[in-house]
């Protein structure tokens, strides 16, 4: 279907984009990669009056390490992140996530930030970046505010973003020494959303005990979920088969998957267990001496 008619604007700065959002009086929508929004408009599930195309705003292309964070600007695509040598070397969690988001053509246009604003609990970045303890940087008429991603992702398709605000950036803490990460996903075919998926970010002490760990669950509830119980029981422990098995079971208990064409609740819950275990093993293996 051709979408309902709308006006189109392509501002050159964030300030202009925010002014356009304000002026549209809640009828405006940001267009980033369009890989979620355009299909929704074509199905007439969304019918904004004004599309504010942010793809021509240079400041939103920021993609670099600075002051202890990797700054991922709103216009950084899944593909750009996937191809980044710096991400491949130092952010194995992000690298292994980018590879399994959608398909290679969708990855060329879809953005990490667009995916977070879309807030689909089956979206991969929510789970991966919760594990990474990322911060959302939101800009509105009053300026910038920063919050943990856990607070940004409020509910299914719902974020903490105000009507005249833009997610300008997501910041991922640069992992310290003895860190590793990994993302594990089961999908029916390339380009499908996850049946189940788990992201892990891990830091060990010199003695081999878990110093910090983040575990994010995808498609395991109304919103990307932090496996708090599993995280809590790993802190201070040596990461061995016994502690991994126990943490994986705790993550599965905390998951609240729903039954759909991708599987039954018991199956999905068990896959959370399996994938948590695999992601913890792989995150440990990704630690470089």
């Amino acid at each position: 279907m051709i979408p309902a008619a709308f006006e189109y604007a392509a501002p050159k700065t964030v300030a202009e984009a925010i002014a356009l959002l304000r002026g549209a009086d809640s009828g405006g929508k940001i267009l980033a990669g369009g890989q979620s929004l355009v299909p929704m408009m074509r199905f007439r599930l969304a019918a904004p009056n004004l599309l504010i195309d942010i793809t021509r705003i240079p400041e939103l292309r920021i993609f670099k390490e600075e002051s202890g964070y990797l700054r991922i600007g709103a216009m950084v695509t899944h593909g750009e992140l996937e191809r980044s040598a710096m991400v491949g070397e130092r952010y194995p969690l992000l690298a292994s996530t980018a590879r399994v988001v959608a398909d290679p053509i969708v990855r060329e246009r879809g953005t990490i930030c667009g995916s977070l604003v879309h807030a689909d609990p089956a979206g991969d970045w929510g789970a991966a970046l919760i594990a990474a303890r990322a911060q959302a940087v939101v800009t509105g008429p009053a300026g910038e505010r920063t919050m943990p991603l856990d607070d940004f992702l409020v509910d299914t398709f719902t974020t903490a973003l105000g009507e005249d605000e833009i997610l300008t950036e997501v910041r991922v803490p640069t992992p310290p020494a003895l860190s590793g990460g990994n993302y594990q996903k089961i999908e029916r075919k390339v380009g499908d959303f996850a049946t189940a998926a788990v992201g892990v970010q891990l830091t060990l002490s010199e003695q081999g005990a878990v110093e910090a760990v983040g575990i994010g669950l995808c498609a395991a509830g109304p919103v990307s979920l932090r496996a708090t119980a599993a995280e809590g029981m790993l802190i201070g422990k040596v990461l061995d088969d016994a502690s991994i098995t126990a943490a994986a079971a705790a993550a599965a208990t905390q998951a609240e998957p729903t039954a759909d064409t991708r599987g039954a609740i018991d199956y999905k819950r068990d896959m959370v267990r399996v994938l948590t275990s695999r992601a913890l093993h792989a995150a440990r293996a990704a630690i470089r001496a």
Binding site: M1, I2, P3, A4, A5, F6, E7, Y8, A10, L31, G34, Q35, V38, P39, M41, R42, F43, L51, D53, T55, A102, D103, P104, I105, V106, E108, R109, V190, G191
Partner: protein, 162 residues
């Protein structure tokens, strides 16, 4: 309200007046008569509509024509320069890389972008690279072979040209 856009399509400058809601694929097919780019699912899933926008593969059913203002667009019609088949087209022909041909224009454009970025891809890299383009006929084996052949020919040609 219609917007005036200027795009370069297969090397030719085009000025168009488009409604913002017009997907790029329909501007190509209906305004420019470039019907080589196909519409399959029309909902971002199949890759049949893949074209290159400034060299990047894009599902043209999921980008509005107005967004392409100032960009260079390449479609399957642009491949055979001077009437001579592009190495990829030739390789698809020789290896039975198509049956009904519906997916082929998108497959060719994706393959072209893949080889531009990675001139000697492994079989796994080819399979991953075309995994956003669905084919109902071939079972993909011959498409992979065709891309391998084109890659080999292009790098031989590049080496000879050095």
């Amino acid at each position: 309200m219609s917007h005036h856009i200027e795009i370069t399509v297969n090397g030719t400058h085009q000025a168009l007046d488009v409604e913002p809601r017009l997907p790029l694929v329909f501007a190509l097919r209906e305004m420019l008569d470039l019907t080589g780019t196909h519409v399959g699912c029309d909902t971002t899933s199949c890759g049949a509509c893949t074209v290159l926008v400034d060299g990047t593969p894009v599902k043209s059913c999921t980008m509005f024509a107005v967004q392409a203002d100032g960009c260079s667009v390449e479609t399957v019609e642009g491949l055979a320069a001077g009437g001579e088949l592009h190495p990829l087209q030739k390789a698809f022909w020789e290896n039975h890389g198509l049956q009904c041909g519906f997916c082929t224009p998108g497959m060719l454009m994706t393959a072209k972008a893949l080889l531009a970025r990675n001139p000697r891809p492994s079989e796994v890299e080819i399979r991953r690279g075309i995994s956003g383009n669905l084919c109902r006929c071939t079972g993909y084996q011959n498409i992979v072979k065709a891309i391998q052949q084109a890659a080999a020919e292009q790098s031989t040609a590049a080496a000879a040209g050095d």
